[in-house]
Symmetry: none
DNA sequence: TCACGTATCGTACTCAGGTACTAGGAGTGT
DNA sequence: ACACTCCTAGTACCTGAGTACGATACGTGA
């Protein structure tokens, strides 16, 4: 879905120029953030976060507007922290205001269709938050196991049941048990909890 | 940037039909996941995760291929968990294999340009993960528990059996079980392994 | 050819873990 | 006095996990 029309709040003429071909109609310029309140629900708006007089991203103003509008935040100096704030405020997108034209247009199209647009760096940061130390510090255990055993071991260490492991790997629960018995023996542990502690580097 | 050509691994004819107009050329069909290894670096491939014979997302196979290719994972029954696995494996996109044509095309264009494509639900999950990771997982579990429960919880999370916990604390095994039931309920986990993962800051 | 490792699967068994339902005593705040 | 939380504990029950016997098949190297 191509974005047909959108609003823009920015003093940056170069940004405006790059956005001129990004939708069927040229962007409608907003003079101040207060005008956001006058837009109809579901409309698309790009906000240059460097514009003077904007409330901080933590302000309730953004949560309210992001509820009803599709808002993309552009920053001349994007950071993961700022991106997190933007997304937590409910923004549909966060990106670089000096990004290339096709990149801006893509962001516009994505958020116009109701999805979220997030750059790679920020995405990596998000994943890191979820994953944390999930895939392990000590590598000693890996070299002791075969390829298949490593798969089973890491799933068991993440709390998966034998049955769900079996389904995920397309084998029988019995076979999973068989692998686990071998794994416990090789790593010198007695059960899956000890295995998890070992794999996640706790004692 | 429009995606010009891409590869597709799926048995689903309807999916293939919906993708026919999504790029300049019709999708090149792959017969088996092994063929991914024959593609040139940087090429775009959509993978229907329901295709028979695929290795699980945890398998090193995906990490390797996602390093060199731009891979989008499609699932007939997407879940946040599966999406996380896909992204952690290095996939550039994760979405619904029954998604509308324009949605699939958008995903294709986004990952072709090197960015990441993630649905709303999964994104929300990621954000929640960051918030929890930064706020809760540090000591959040401790404030939810009473003094006695903290003792039991930390011992259980270190792999102690109910009986040894009971002996250490001078109470009955039954009482330990009772505490644990309360603990599981408070921390919203199902067993001692999940408890250990929670307490040790893994997811 | 044969030994060996790896991956797969079967049946049967034991046992720790977890739940359901219940309940008494101690302490605390209203 | 009453409500509430916390710690304690009993019986009964179900289930997943792990083990103990197996077994077949495949590939590799001696």
């Amino acid at each position: 879905m191509r974005c047909t029309a959108f609003h823009l709040l920015s003093d940056d003429e170069s940004l405006c120029a790059r956005l001129r071909g990004a939708s069927a109609e040229p962007p409608h310029r907003l003079a101040a953030h207060g005008e956001l309140a006058t837009l109809a629900n579901g409309e698309v708006a790009l906000i240059d976060i460097a514009s003077p007089g904007l409330p901080p991203l933590q302000a309730p103003f953004w949560r309210v507007q992001c509820e009803r509008l599709k808002i993309g935040i552009l920053s001349p100096s994007p950071s993961d922290g700022e991106g997190l704030l933007a997304l937590e405020a409910g923004a549909h997108g966060y990106g670089h205001s000096y990004a290339a034209e096709h990149s801006l247009q893509q962001m516009l199209d994505v958020i116009a269709s109701g999805e979220l647009w997030v750059g790679r760096s920020l995405m990596a940061r998000l994943l890191k938050g979820v994953r944390q130390a999930s895939v392990v510090s000590g590598k000693g255990w890996q070299v002791l196991l075969t390829e298949r055993e490593r798969e089973v071991a890491s799933m068991a260490a993440m709390g998966e049941s034998n049955l769900s492991i079996a389904n995920a790997l397309g084998i029988t629960e019995r076979t999973v048990k068989s692998h686990l018995t071998t794994i416990f023996d090789k790593l010198d542990v007695t059960d899956r909890l000890q295995l998890a502690l070992r794999i996640h580097g706790i004692r």
